[in-house]
């Protein structure tokens, strides 16, 4: 049911802004029109259309990212009312009590370097994907023919893991993932499990285990299990951590005695 748009209704926003990667962050207040179907991305868009603060000052519009607008790309991930969320799928009426005078706070994610305002640099996740060889090796000088079959059961187990959009929410919420350490976080551990399950991806399993047993790997997980709670794609991240923990036990014994 779509509630009718309410004329003249506004909502206050408190946005943490930062002009450049090294600049000091500062808060800025806005008041924007809001109707029953508004989400946070639509509020940010209204600001862009007329970037005037609540105090009436004309400012540069807050920079933000958005692409798919349907929670499948992850680019709009930010901290809204103190909690990491996708701005595009965060309905204002879900997080903000009707008629509340309190502003909605919007901050960039805290675990990644800020490029500008709400835009952060998530290249660390890409580096980590490369590090765990998040791919299936099929390069060859001749045609290898069709790949091995994957049973429907295997597909069903793998599909949820494939939904990860590298949004970084699980990393933002993880107390063990910080700006100055090198923990790879739940996302990478789960993706490694995904590629280890694939009949061709398995070829690189040992290499992935070597990485995951290294600095910043599975060892740094502290089992706070926030990741699985905040993941918008409902990926069984803690199960993946258990699977990789078990694989690490088996692999380390194998390595100790036969490598």
């Amino acid at each position: 049911m779509i509630a009718p748009a309410e004329k003249g209704k506004t909502v206050k926003l408190n946005i943490l802004r930062q002009d450049s990667p090294d600049a000091k962050p500062y808060w800025q207040n806005f008041e924007v029109p809001c109707n029953a179907g508004s989400n946070v991305t639509s509020l940010l868009r209204s600001i862009s259309e007329s970037p005037v603060t609540a105090g009436g000052a004309k400012v540069a519009p807050p920079a933000y990212e958005a692409s798919c607008l349907e929670e499948v790309c992850g680019s709009c991930t930010m901290v809204i009312n103190g909690r990491v969320r996708q701005a595009c799928s965060t309905l204002v009426r879900k997080i903000h009590p009707h008629d509340s005078e309190e502003p909605i706070t919007i901050e960039p994610m805290t675990k990644f370097p800020v490029i500008r305002d709400l835009v952060v640099d998530r290249s660390r996740t890409f580096e980590n994907l490369k590090r765990i060889k998040a791919w299936i090796p099929i390069d060859s000088s001749y045609n290898l023919g069709p790949g091995p079959r994957i049973t429907p059961e295997e597909q069903q187990a793998m599909y949820p893991l494939s939904r990860c959009m590298t949004c970084g929410a699980c990393l933002e919420a993880c107390p063990q993932f910080t700006r100055d350490n090198n923990f790879v976080g739940a996302q990478i551990i789960s993706i490694a499990r995904y590629y280890n399950m694939h009949p061709n991806g398995k070829i690189l399993k040992d290499e992935r285990m070597e990485v995951l047993m290294g600095e910043g790997g599975i060892t740094d997980c502290g089992n706070a299990q926030n990741c699985v709670k905040v993941c918008p794609k409902e990926i069984p991240l803690t199960e993946s951590i258990g699977v990789i923990g078990r694989a690490a036990t088996v692999y380390s014994i194998k390595k100790f005695f036969s490598k």
Binding site: R83, P137, D139, M213, E215, N226, I241, G245
Partner: protein, 305 residues
């Protein structure tokens, strides 16, 4: 296997080499830390059970005698099951806490996250409590100073003493300022003991839960919940035993409840009392505490006078 992308693998923030052997040291040490925690947890459960017998002072003395009857072997047992695992677990635990994490139990107040935070908080409480525990039971440091200096000011400090296990335990937990259990300093001491034991119980039960994940015993959410219930049950049982021990040595303890000096310890002491040189060579210990023969001499002397 080389791939086109390998050359472009960037540096992680700390610039560490992920796959080198030294890069995996942390993994191995962390597994040792886990084993040490489990071993020490076994000791804690045993120790609390023995101490719960303080509810029946005679049984407690018998248990202490039984432990003391290991004689010089006790030092070996203590080293393997108490000191070594504790030292490893404690040092590495402090390192894990110190290597940087961003606790966010208020912002993301999920059960798992609160337990994660409490695991670290109780670890730090235990660090302080274990030091206090050793200080009260053994006056570590002070006993050594006394040994070297025979400074009379220290002779009034009570400490654990296997031959009068019950009375000395109850007295040692009291501060040296007053034997009155409701004297404010003694109440603080008791509170510290309650805090310490319950911190240990939580830390142990939750540690059993996380260890099962770390080793890959529990994988699915259902299995983790099921094992969680077992850990909760273990926690409740050890907690009840621990509370029995706490009551026995604090509010229900009678400092004057010294039992007659019987049992192996005393016999052992008497056998060696005449050989001053034997003092150094016969380390008697129990419950992780080395008995200092001269205390016994002092007690015997006091009794005689």
């Amino acid at each position: 296997m080389t791939t086109a992308m390998e050359g472009s693998v960037g540096k992680n923030p700390a610039g560490a080499d992920y796959s080198s052997q030294s890069g995996q040291l942390h993994f191995w040490l962390r597994r040792v830390h886990s084993l040490a925690g489990l071993a020490f947890g076994g000791f804690v459960a045993f120790h609390l059970t023995v101490c719960a017998t303080t509810l029946s002072p005679v049984t407690y003395q018998q248990e202490v005698n039984r432990i003391a009857s290991l004689g010089p072997n006790l030092a070996f047992v203590e080293f393997t099951f108490i000191w070594l695992p504790l030292l490893i677990h404690m040092l590495y635990g402090v390192y894990i806490i110190g290597r940087g994490s961003k606790w966010n139990g208020v912002r993301y107040n999920y059960g798992g996250n609160i337990r994660y935070t409490l695991q670290r908080v109780t670890g730090l409480i235990l660090l302080v409590f274990l030091a206090y525990h050793l200080a009260t039971m053994h006056r570590w440091g002070l006993a050594l100073v006394y040994d070297l200096t025979h400074w009379s000011a220290l002779s009034s400090f009570p400490w654990f003493h296997p031959s009068t296990a019950y009375g000395s335990t109850v007295t040692a937990i009291k501060t040296p300022y007053s034997p009155n259990p409701w004297f404010w300093a003694n109440v603080i001491s008791d509170v510290l003991y309650f805090l310490g034991v319950w911190a240990a119980v939580f830390h142990l039960a939750n540690g059993l839960w996380t260890a099962a994940i770390a080793w890959g015993l529990t994988v699915t959410a259902v299995a983790q919940r099921r094992w969680g219930n077992v850990c909760l049950a273990v926690g409740i049982i050890v907690g009840i035993i621990g509370t029995g021990a706490l009551l026995g040595v604090t509010v229900l303890g009678k400092p004057s409840g010294n039992l007659p000096e019987t049992g192996v310890v005393v016999r052992y002491m008497q056998k060696n009392a005449s050989h001053a040189s034997a003092r150094r060579r016969v380390p008697l210990s129990t419950c992780g505490l080395t008995l200092r023969p001269h205390i016994n001499d002092a007690t015997t002397a006091a009794k005689a006078s």
